[in-house]
């Protein structure tokens, strides 16, 4: 078990290292990064000085090595726009994104699990039909459109909720529900099919024969086993949630990392882009690691491999 954890951690570290390489290359694809810092009409000598200052005259692998050693120390350079350390800019804003994505995932689960279970148990009933339509609609609507419609309905027409910014619960509801919408749909679908599979299985029949109350059969035994694929997919959905957070943050002016990266991209603020993407990858890998390890709790079969 300890060996398993260790090997997964090493895999994760390797993945994050790979991400630094990819981001390093991606940001420098367009060529000379110095041209962004140096005005067009500058003296070539001055341009050379600036280059040397930023270490941009070195060959690329030297630049990468410098980048990596600094990154490990937490130094991602200074934001071109704010002149704060890039990592600080990103770290300041990541709690907002995590809050948004976390609440979105929670809402998705809270909606998907009951509806999925009920539509499986009352197969063919009105809940089942509603769930089918809901999942279809949910998976076909782009996240940003859901957000726009939500704003149109709740803020413009009904004047119930604020349109943007971070604040109390009322500021959180619309962005979180928007972000979780697509996940809600896929998770409902998944829960439903997983429960349908599980309900037919032998151990459920056994539990019924034993005389376990039906509520326990469904909500304790069946759901626990159906939860395994659902948790897996939730881990995969996390990637979509972060990606979707970029768009949701832009629509609702939520002060998170996603919006910061988009702004940094349009401002050509590459240190922030690098820091932000690598940090998100780090969070992502860590989160997946936690999910993988939680299999040991949910599924006893994993513990013995």
């Amino acid at each position: 078990m300890a060996l398993y954890i260790l090997s997964r951690i090493i895999q994760g570290a390797f993945a994050i290292w790979g991400v630094t390489v990819i981001i390093f290359i991606a940001v420098r694809i367009s060529g000379d990064a110095a041209s962004l810092l140096i005005p067009q009409d500058a003296d070539p000598q001055e341009a050379e000085v600036v280059r040397q200052l930023y270490g941009l005259d070195q060959p690329y692998h030297m630049q990468y090595l410098k980048f990596l050693t600094n990154a490990v120390k937490g130094d991602f350079g200074r934001s071109y726009r704010w002149h704060d350390p890039a990592l600080k800019v990103v770290l300041d804003r990541i709690p907002a994104t995590l809050q948004l994505a976390g609440v979105a995932a929670l809402i998705a689960l809270l909606v998907a699990l009951p509806i999925g279970v009920l539509s499986a148990v009352y197969h063919g009933g009105w809940i089942d039909n509603f769930a089918k339509v809901f999942t279809l609609m949910g998976q076909s609507m782009p996240t940003f459109w859901v957000g726009i419609l939500a704003i149109l309905l709740f803020s413009v027409q009904l004047r119930l909720l604020p349109t943007s910014g971070r604040g109390g619960l009322d500021h959180l509801i619309l962005p979180a529900v928007t972000l979780g919408w697509v996940s809600m749909a896929s998770l409902t679908r998944l829960t439903r099919s997983a429960m349908l599979d599980v309900i037919d299985s032998d151990y459920i029949k056994m539990a019924r024969i034993k005389g376990v109350p039906e509520k326990w059969v469904i909500w304790k035994h069946a759901l626990r086993n159906a939860a395994i694929p659902v948790v897996t997919i939730l881990g995969l959905q996390w990637s979509n949630l972060i990606g979707g957070a970029v768009v949701v943050e832009t629509i609702f002016a939520w002060p998170g990392v996603g919006r910061t990266i988009v702004e940094a991209l349009s401002n050509r603020d590459y240190p922030v882009v690098q820091a932000g993407t690598i940090l998100i990858a780090f969070v992502h890998v860590t989160f997946n690691l936690i999910i993988d390890l939680s299999y040991g709790i949910l599924d006893p079969r994993v513990r013995y491999t």
């Binding site: 993945a15 076909s140 990606g243 970029v246 990266i261």
Partner: protein
């Protein structure tokens, strides 16, 4: 306890069942195929292909006197501009028709390239195993550590947004799904007898891969492709929404929604119709993909 047999013998046989009328049989037969989704998709495809013939106006033609007109059924609208106009006076309906081109092109080409690259890598990885497998799977791991959309944003911004960039970016974002899937299938097919026989007969590895293994597993890749088509269309729309998709004056549904965002309180039609277009197209793709997956499911037996 009365068994069914006993019941059948003791009850009088009254014929309650009758032959379904011809149209009932026809409807039942027709519902086996995904008619509605395919209809939606063909409408979108026709709109895309024949856009110049179908669109009532030039999508980039400004007519500032006619800007911000509501749809035709509103008293302030006109039947000349069916779904209204935007702030530059461009006809929304025509822009939606032309937008279908962008979405479908990127959808098909993006999924196509991702599928080809991913399938090839999956085949190689699954068949050769060992170091090659390890390297390819590590690359897949690394790529999956970053949310695909984020990576796409960075690349699109750095390379410069254009149709080609988006297709490349979609390919880079979606190839890993195919690689993992095909690798799994290859691993299970690798053990079969006909592969061993092909090796004994002296077939070269490429021949084995493409002539013996691939035809048996291509179904799963095709199903994945149809199911991902909708996802890619939403992906492209999201990139366009953030300004990193195809650039104006080309009309893309995502950028139309971005334009409409500032006028939500005054011009609801700018934000609703492109979204409906996206939703219907993706719905068509998803339903068709679902049907295809059930249709190609090896567990289904045609009796």
């Amino acid at each position: 306890m009365k068994t069914d047999v006993t019941r059948a013998i003791t009850k009088p046989t009254i014929l309650k069942w009758r032959q379904p009328i011809a149209w009932q049989r026809l409807a039942k037969e027709a519902l086996r195929y995904p008619l509605v989704p395919l209809f939606i998709l063909s409408v979108v495809a026709i709109a895309g292909v024949f856009a110049p013939l179908l669109a009532p106006h030039d999508p980039s033609a400004f007519e500032l006197r006619r800007s911000m007109m509501p749809p035709a059924w509103d008293p302030k609208g006109s039947s000349e501009f069916l779904l209204g106009t935007d702030k530059l006076g461009r006809d929304i309906f025509s822009r939606i028709i032309y937008g279908a081109r962008v979405s479908l092109t990127i959808g098909f080409l993006g999924v196509g390239f991702a599928g080809v690259v991913g399938t090839t890598l999956g085949l190689v990885s699954g068949y050769f195993g060992g170091k090659t497998d390890a390297i390819i799977m590590r690359i897949v791991d690394i790529k999956q550590s970053v949310p695909g959309f984020l990576l796409a944003l960075v690349l699109a911004a750095v390379i410069g947004p254009s149709l080609q960039t988006i297709i490349i970016v979609v390919m880079l974002a979606y190839w890993t799904g195919y690689a993992r899937l095909i690798r799994g299938e290859t691993l299970s097919v690798k053990q079969r007898d006909y592969v061993a026989l092909a090796r004994v007969a002296g077939c070269s590895p490429p021949r084995i891969l493409f002539k013996h293994i691939l035809p048996n597993i291509v179904n799963t890749a095709v199903v994945l492709a149809t199911l991902q088509l909708g996802s890619v269309i939403i992906f492209e729309a999201s990139l366009s929404f953030l300004g990193l998709g195809v650039q104006p004056p080309a009309s893309a549904w995502g950028s139309m929604l971005a334009d409409g965002r500032s006028y939500m309180t005054s011009a609801w039609w700018l934000s609703v119709f492109p979204g409906v277009a996206i939703m219907l197209t993706v719905l068509g793709c998803n339903l068709t993909g679902d049907w295809l997956r059930d249709f190609l499911d090896p567990k289904r037996r045609q009796v």
